[in-house]
Amino acid sequence: MRRRIAFGLAALVGVLAVVLGGGWRGSDATARTVGREDLAQLVGQFSAGSSRSVVRRLESTASAHPNDTRTLTLLGLGYQQVARETADASWLPRSREALGRAASADPADSLAVSGLAQLAVTQHRFRAAIPLAHRALRLDPENTVAIGALGDALVAAGHHREGFRAYDRLAGRGPSVGAYARVATARQLLGRPAAALDAMELAIEAGSAIPEQEAWALTRYGTLLVASDRIEEADAAFRGALRLSPGYVHAQAGRARVDAARSRFGDAARRLRRVVDRLPVPEYAILLGDVLARDGRPVAARRAYALVSTLERVLAANGVRTELQTAIFDLDHGIRPRAALARARAAYRAAPGVSTADAVAWGLARTGRCAAARGWSRRALVLGTKDGLFLFHRGMIERCLHGDAVARPWFARALAANPTFSLRWAPLAERLAA
């Protein structure tokens, strides 16, 4: 889920970068109703934090001019923006409807097609996203929405090299939050956390007219800082994000992470309860459960974990691919590990990237097939990613195969990569590394 939010937000940043930078150079001849001035006005309204009213205005234009493809395209992108702000997936079918209409009415509308590509990324339909992004780029090679979506989809589908090339291409279009944030993601995957932080600093410097965008960049930066154990700076970043966008829920969750890293579990739990009230996503519900468990409140923790299962049922019923997150959660908690392993495999088939390879490795390890698990763990670490959880999983696999002595350095590496990589597993890693 964290990845999903990150992708969603990165995609948003991509759109706005296009709109702001005027990077879209499509068929201006067709832009009758919505011209450049309207685009600028759109950005102005987004920046005032009233994306709903932008969307409403576009809706009324669209119902007055049902064949105006530009309005439909902007409406489709606006719906995605609202979906990201509220994390409410029921906005996504609206986006699909609007963009689908625009793209079928005007198949040469690069922006509409790239909007569909970006939507597919948001919905974790990576394989569908790639051809859409290519189509949009054939129509307009400079379409940055398409470049960003292409990179995200390629990385998620395990084509890292091509994906990173797309990110570079995006960054070559000029400095923007969306471009540098993606570069940071790539560096993070390549196991260069310090360089990733540099890229995030550039992203923040690139700045944006839209407070929410900057808040997002600061939050992402703070999350990377927590992973690098720079808790004070992380706290400052989250506070800065909250100043820019008061009540920004991801920054609130970030502050809870800071509390947890300082072992102030009670404060973290209080903060996370408010976060989960507003944004009930599995990632934060799991975090709440873990925090409550560490705070010695097993009953409350069980309640939070029950919410996770409920959320997963609902997401699955809505057709959202949740195999990856549900598999890891179930494996961590020993809930039907064989079924969880099957889901991890399904997730890998859908998006053969490093995270899904790690999930398969963990599933095999938790069902006692450590030799096979090792191969999958190698695949997860092929890029040299310094992810505490990946390294911890490898440690557990090595421990199962060769005992504590061989596993010890892996646990040490996991903790070195991120001393608070998991509230649930970090204490065990500390014990086993000693």
């Binding site: 409807e97 609902v314 019923a317 809505n318």
Partner: protein, 479 residues
Amino acid sequence: MRRLIGLLVVFAVLSAPAVANAHPLGNFTINHYSRVQPSGDRVYVLYVLDMAEIPTFRERQAMGSPEGYAAATARRIARQLELVVDGERLRVIPVEHAIAFPPGVGGLKTLRLQVVLRTERIARADAPRSLSYRDMTFPGRIGWKEVVVAPAGAAIVLSSSAPQESISGELLAYPKDLLRSPPDVTAATASFEPGTSPGPIPRLASQSLLAQRVAVRTPTDGGFASLVAERDLGLGFVLLSLVIALFWGAAHAFSPGHGKAIVAGYLVGTRGRVCDALMLGVIVTVTHTAGVFALGGVTLLLSAFIVPEQLYPWLNLVSALLVVGVGLTILRWRIRVWRRGNPLGHVHDHGHDHAHHHDHRHGHDGGHPHDHGDGTAGRAGLLGIGISAGIIPCPTALVVLLAAISLQRVGYGLVLILAFSVGLAVAVTSIGLVAVLARRTFSRVSFDGAVIRALPAMSAVVVLGLGVVMTLRALPSVL
């Protein structure tokens, strides 16, 4: 072969994925609606709360008795409604409430609460009174927020910022228009004249209505997205499957199970009356459909009492095993008959009927008027033939229905069966009609063709295979 292909195609059509019945507004919305009702000498508010699955789950985690929760929530809501008349905030007090937990997605519940609130008496003034209303419940939570102002009794609303009618059926049926954001209205202003005597109190919805699963309706005002509602099961698909079901039904008439129907058609033909042939067709259709519908009705009835999400996995398994059973029974009988070297498909042979249909069918046929072959069957006899030919849901029709159930499309399945029965009746009637028109030629035609004999054997294998597939599909959700 046609039958085999028909079966496979219909099954493929049925396999089109059923769309999950999620809350139409997203699973973590909290939707609320107020009907501000100046009625007689008071202002009433009907407040409706519709919580989607996730918030409901969280509320229920901490809920004692639903009744206590409803009462406490009603009081809390009353404090968060601001009703100002002529600049003075009036206290609203809850007078009645009702709560229900309609089924939602994935076996989860949603929550629906209705509260009737009222103000103190408001005296009539010389000038109209101004009213402003603000719903401050659940701030910051996303959802459908709607306010209407509708007078009742002797009160008159002169002007209002809000409409008089709810566009969501008071949160019971949300209009589905993809290119329109849900309303976000939490306030209204109006000017009104109160009546001088008590007016009617807003009524709570009945408990059964309250407990109804939240619905989505397609707007009738020619809105944008009217086609979306059918998208998951396209019209072309449905028509194609209906045509296939029709043909399949006709082909089915030649299988041994309905041999009697053919004989009936033949007999009608030999008696030479067109209207008898047509009537027989109608009777066969009605009874054949009724038999299968009765079964489907029981299923639907069950699903009204048990949450379908909990019922379906088991129903799926039971239906799947039933289909396997039917397939095995037919197959066993085929093998037995084969070993005996008995001529197949002989329409007067009752051996196959015991196995192919249920045994009691034989009992129903008691008199076997057609077996006497003397053409003396009267109108009552004709009725008896028609009913006996149609009444027992034959395995093939059952397979269609059970497959539809397993895909949670019972209604669609019933329509298919109707088409199937019509096809069957058409075949029977045409035979009768042909017989009427060409009696002499027809009397020499034998029904024991090689193809007709081979059909049942194929059907046994197909049904068995289908049953196995259905079982495999059903097992994971039960285990």
